[in-house]
C-alpha cells in the first residue's frame, strides 16, 4: 500500500516535471534578443540614424499620407498615426469580427485597403506592406505587448501553443525545445534567443533588410527541415497569437536590429 502510494507520488512528480519542461522558467526574467546581442548591434538599434529599419519607417510615413487610387489615404480616417496608432501594434494579432478569424497587423492593414480604400491587398513581405507595418508598429515603441483579451482568441491561441510545443521536421524539434529550454546555448554557431517577438518587423543583418515575424518563423521552420506553412496561413497567425501571449508585457522595440 505504502509502496504503491510512493509510486503514485513519483508518477505525479514526473508528470508535473514533464508539464513544466514545456514552459519557460518563471523564476528567470525574460530577456529580449536585444540583451544578448553584441554592444555594437545594440548601439545600431538604439540610434535611429544608424538603425536601417528607420528607412522603412520613414517610407511608411509617406505611404500613410498617400492617397491610393481615387479613395482615401490611411490618414484620412486615422489622422495622425503618432496618436491614433499608439499602442495598436501592442495588441495584434486581434480578432476580426467580420472575417471571424484572428488577423495580424499586416493582414489588418490589407483589410483596411480592401474594405475602405478599395484597392488591392499588398503581397506578403512586399516593401510597401513592410513600410506600413513598420510605421504603425513603430508608434508603439516603448510600450508593453498587451495581447487582446477577446474570448474568441482563446481557442486559436491554444492551437498556436500546441504548434509551438509540437516536434516537427526532419530534425524533430519543437520551438519550445530551443527557445524555452535552451536559450543562451549555441546552435550552429549562433546563440539561441528566447524567441520574443517584441521587435517586429525587424531589420536582420543576415537578411540585409527588414522582415516580418512570419518570415522569421518560416526561417526557423525550414531550419528544422519542416515544411513552412505559407504566409498568412491559419497556422502562422495562430503561432503569432501564442507568441504575443508568451511575450506579453515585454517592451516593443520596432524596428529592432538583430544579427
Amino acid at each position: 500500500m505504502i509502496a504503491s502510494r510512493a509510486a503514485l507520488a513519483l508518477i505525479a512528480a514526473l508528470l508535473a516535471w514533464a508539464g513544466a519542461a514545456g514552459a519557460q522558467d518563471p523564476a528567470k526574467p525574460r530577456r529580449s534578443g536585444f540583451d544578448t546581442m553584441s554592444p555594437r548591434i545594440q548601439a545600431m538599434q538604439r540610434d535611429d540614424l544608424q538603425n536601417p529599419g528607420m528607412l522603412w519607417v520613414a517610407d511608411g510615413e509617406v505611404l500613410w499620407n498617400k492617397i491610393f487610387g481615387i479613395s482615401f489615404s490611411c490618414a484620412h480616417c486615422h489622422g495622425d498615426a503618432k496618436q491614433s496608432m499608439r499602442g495598436v501594434a501592442a495588441r495584434y494579432p486581434d480578432w476580426d469580427p467580420v472575417e471571424q478569424r484572428p488577423v495580424d497587423l499586416s493582414q489588418r492593414i490589407n483589410l483596411c485597403r480592401t474594405r475602405h480604400q478599395l484597392v488591392m491587398p499588398l503581397p506578403p513581405e512586399s516593401v510597401e506592406l513592410l513600410d506600413l507595418e513598420a510605421y504603425v508598429a513603430n508608434q508603439s515603441r516603448g510600450m508593453p505587448i498587451a495581447p487582446s483579451s477577446a474570448r474568441e482568441l482563446e481557442a486559436p491561441r491554444e492551437r498556436g501553443r500546441a504548434l509551438y510545443t509540437q516536434r516537427i521536421g526532419q530534425l524533430n524539434l519543437s520551438c519550445a525545445l530551443c527557445h524555452d529550454q535552451r536559450p543562451g546555448h549555441v546552435l550552429a554557431g549562433a546563440t539561441i534567443p528566447e524567441g520574443h517577438i517584441n521587435g517586429y518587423p525587424t531589420y536582420r543583418l543576415e537578411w540585409q533588410g527588414l522582415g516580418s515575424l512570419q518570415r522569421r518563423l518560416r526561417n526557423c521552420l525550414s531550419g528544422v527541415r519542416a515544411e513552412p506553412p505559407p504566409f498568412n496561413s491559419t497556422e502562422m497567425v495562430e503561432l503569432e497569437l501564442y507568441l504575443a501571449q508568451r511575450s506579453a508585457g515585454m517592451t516593443i522595440e520596432t524596428p529592432a536590429v538583430r544579427p
Partner: protein
C-alpha cells in the same frame, strides 16, 4: 529615388566640429551571389559618396562590394561658413542621388 536619412546640425558656431551622419537605402548587391534561378546576380553597389560644403569637397569615400546594404557613413566637418552641405551617392546602373542640408554658422 532612394530613401535617405541625414543628420546634420542646422546651426553651429564658427570653428565647431560637426558630426554629419548619413544613411541611404540601397541593396549593395555584391555581384558574387546567386539568385533563386542559380544565375549570378549582377553587381549593384554605390561606388562613391561625396559631401560638398558650399561646393567644396570636404569628405568622400569609395565603397566596395563588401560594404553591407543600406550603408551608414558618419564623418566630421569643421563649421566654416553658413551655406549648404550637398551629399551625393553614385553607383552602378546609373545610380545617382543628391541631398542637401542648410546650415547657419554664427
Amino acid at each position: 529615388m532612394a530613401r535617405t536619412l541625414i543628420n546634420a546640425p542646422r546651426t553651429a558656431r564658427k570653428g565647431d566640429v560637426m558630426e554629419i551622419r548619413t544613411l541611404i537605402a540601397h541593396p549593395m548587391e555584391t555581384g558574387y551571389r546567386a539568385g533563386a534561378d542559380g544565375r549570378t546576380l549582377p553587381r549593384d553597389i554605390i561606388r562613391r559618396f561625396a559631401c560638398r560644403y558650399n561646393n567644396e569637397l570636404v569628405f568622400s569615400a569609395d565603397l566596395y562590394p563588401a560594404i553591407s546594404a543600406n550603408p551608414y557613413l558618419a564623418f566630421q566637418v569643421v563649421a566654416d561658413a553658413s551655406g549648404t552641405l550637398t551629399f551625393t551617392w553614385e553607383g552602378d546602373n546609373g545610380f545617382a542621388q543628391t541631398e542637401s542640408a542648410t546650415i547657419t554658422v554664427s
